[in-house]
């Protein structure tokens, strides 16, 4: 993997050659191939999809569906299991409402009851969740008066799978877990939770936002019934995301966002729905965004996620070693082997915001705050951390620049 040649694919780095961009977990940079694909849509064949009976309309529809097929292939799914959304947050919210709108017997053939979710049903998730995953479930639990249980951490700050065994019961209908933490990079054993969930008759939701494009992700290997992610953390544009849903489930589910393009028959009183996944994409979708995401997937496939993960693993090892040598440093990160390339840390006597600001002046992009994972921060025992995240275009010299920036901050605060 030649990083110098990879960097040349990203116009951002031509514009900012000195910049150590260590904030890909917030959003990644965009390769020229993605920009070109979107530009081509806007300049050569812009038209709405599934409607225009002219050449450009057909071209747009074909490229949009090709993007769906690329994304499906990338996560081991079938195209009809892929719904385009505006991002992971939209996917997560929409999924919860889709489940609420669906019939229980359609999702759990053995069970009775008109709606999917009943008061006595329980939801199990983890303290590691991003707010995009946690809060829609919290709100669902509040609406239904149901219990929301949280899988805690062990003493070594791993997910407590033993606790999960007893928290997930026959009453559990949904188990939700983040695949790769946006705080510590920790790659969780989602398969283990999925197996427990399925043994108890529950559905498994996976938040793969920090994982797709960073580590190999396959919905079948993970045992995911539902899985979602954003395009912009995997070299795609902003405003596009994905919701994967297992075909046999999706076929029986009802939409939660209504409008054009999703109907079969419309009468004065009610409407019936077209086939999935179109049933869940009401209105004109983000066509350019989907095409851009398709191009991002194809770009990532030329390098390979295994290769990318091997690279970010090496950077994580290097970062853990170099940061670990700084006095007053506290690191919050999974060991490199099970880390998706994210390292959080605090430095004695310097607030993460001050640290990130001084790093910014030194041309090092960090993230500081609670990273929209308040429960995880509480479990880790810190109000906020600074975070460095690595991707395919980062090098050890970016980490050297980070170390120098931290030393500079220490010098300013030691005066």
């Amino acid at each position: 993997m030649n990083i110098e040649s990879i960097k040349k694919d990203f116009p951002f780095f031509a514009e900012h050659p000195r910049f150590a961009y260590l904030d890909s977990a917030a959003t990644s940079q965009t390769p020229q191939a993605v920009l070109d694909a979107m530009q081509e849509y806007y300049t050569s064949f812009r038209s709405n999809i599934h409607r225009g009976l002219y050449q450009m309309g057909e071209e747009a529809s074909e490229r949009y569906e090709n993007a769906r097929a690329s994304v499906a292939r990338f996560v081991g799914a079938q195209p009809e299991e892929i719904i385009f959304t505006s991002g992971a947050t939209a996917s997560s919210n929409m999924l919860v409402r889709m489940l609420e709108e669906s019939k229980r017997t359609d999702l759990f053939p053995a069970q009775k009851g008109p709606t999917f979710f009943k008061e006595e049903d329980e939801i199990v998730t983890t303290v590691m969740e991003h707010h995009a995953s946690l809060i829609p479930l919290q709100e669902l639990a509040k609406r239904k008066g149901s219990a929301l249980k949280l899988i805690p951490l062990t003493e070594t700050q791993m997910l407590d799978y033993a606790a999960a065994e007893s928290l997930i019961t026959e009453k559990t209908t949904i188990v939700a877990c983040v695949l790769a933490s946006n705080v510590t990079g920790s790659v969780n054993d989602v398969r283990r939770l999925a197996d427990i969930a399925h043994a108890r008759g529950a559905l498994m939701i996976v938040d793969a936002t920090e994982a797709v494009g960073h580590i190999a992700v396959d919905v079948n290997t993970l045992g995911a019934d539902f899985l979602y992610f954003s395009g912009h953390k995997m070299l795609g544009p902003t405003g596009i995301g994905v919701l994967y849903a297992r075909k046999d489930l999706l076929e029986n589910m009802n939409p939660s966002i209504f409008g054009g393009g999703i109907v079969e028959k419309v009468s004065e009183e009610s409407s019936t729905w077209t086939t999935s996944p179109k049933r869940f994409e009401a209105g004109t979708p983000n066509i350019a965004g989907a095409i851009g995401l398709g191009a991002a997937v194809e770009y990532l496939e030329t390098i390979g996620t295994e290769t990318i993960h091997a690279h970010t693993r090496e950077l994580t090892v290097y970062a853990l070693e170099k940061l670990g040598q700084i006095p007053g440093m506290h690191i919050f990160a999974a060991v490199a082997e099970t880390n998706a390339g994210i390292v959080s840390f605090t430095v004695d006597g310097i607030h993460p915001h001050d640290l990130a600001q001084i790093a910014g002046k030194e041309h090092v992009a960090l993230r500081a705050g609670h990273h929209c994972a308040a429960l995880y921060m509480r479990a880790l025992g810190v109000p906020a951390t600074a975070r460095a995240s690595f991707y395919l275009y980062n090098t050890t010299s970016d980490i050297d620049a980070l170390v120098e920036a931290i030393k500079k901050a220490q010098a300013i605060f030691a005066k």
Binding site: H351, H353, Q357, K361, E362, H370, P383, K408, K415
Partner: protein, 124 residues
């Protein structure tokens, strides 16, 4: 430059904050949360018989900007009347700090001001 942001007086206030304490007896008490990092801050004010601020204190932890800002604000409000407190605006806080505050740090700079404003809102 960071040297400009982290000027010596800012760092002095951060290391040795003025009036960092709770007041058992107070007239105004308010709180604020910095949504980007979760830092919390409480601000207390006690008036004298003439209706001027006799004591102003704060409690909480945070970054150099929010802590120095709170420390400086406790000094600044001393001797002010209730109506003068109510006239304080974000611009006064930026001038008081005397450094350039980027949009990303506005929540840090204004944390103590928001805590004070919260207290004034609940003060009869």
């Amino acid at each position: 430059m960071d040297e400009e942001l982290y000027k010596e007086n800012i760092l002095d206030h951060y290391r040795n904050p003025h009036n960092k304490d709770a007041l058992d007896v107070y007239d105004v008490r308010g709180g604020g949360v910095n949504q980007t990092c979760g830092d919390e801050l409480e601000f207390f004010v006690k008036f004298d018989e003439e209706g001027k601020v006799a004591q102003a204190t704060f409690l909480g932890s945070g970054c150099a900007i929010s802590q120095a800002g709170a420390s400086m604000l406790t000094d600044k409000v001393k001797g002010m009347t209730l109506s003068e407190l109510k006239l304080l605006a974000p611009g006064d806080i930026y001038s008081m700090l005397g450094i350039h505050i980027s949009p990303g740090r506005a929540n840090c700079a204004l944390l103590s001001y928001r805590a004070l404003s919260d207290g004034l809102k609940h003060h009869e």
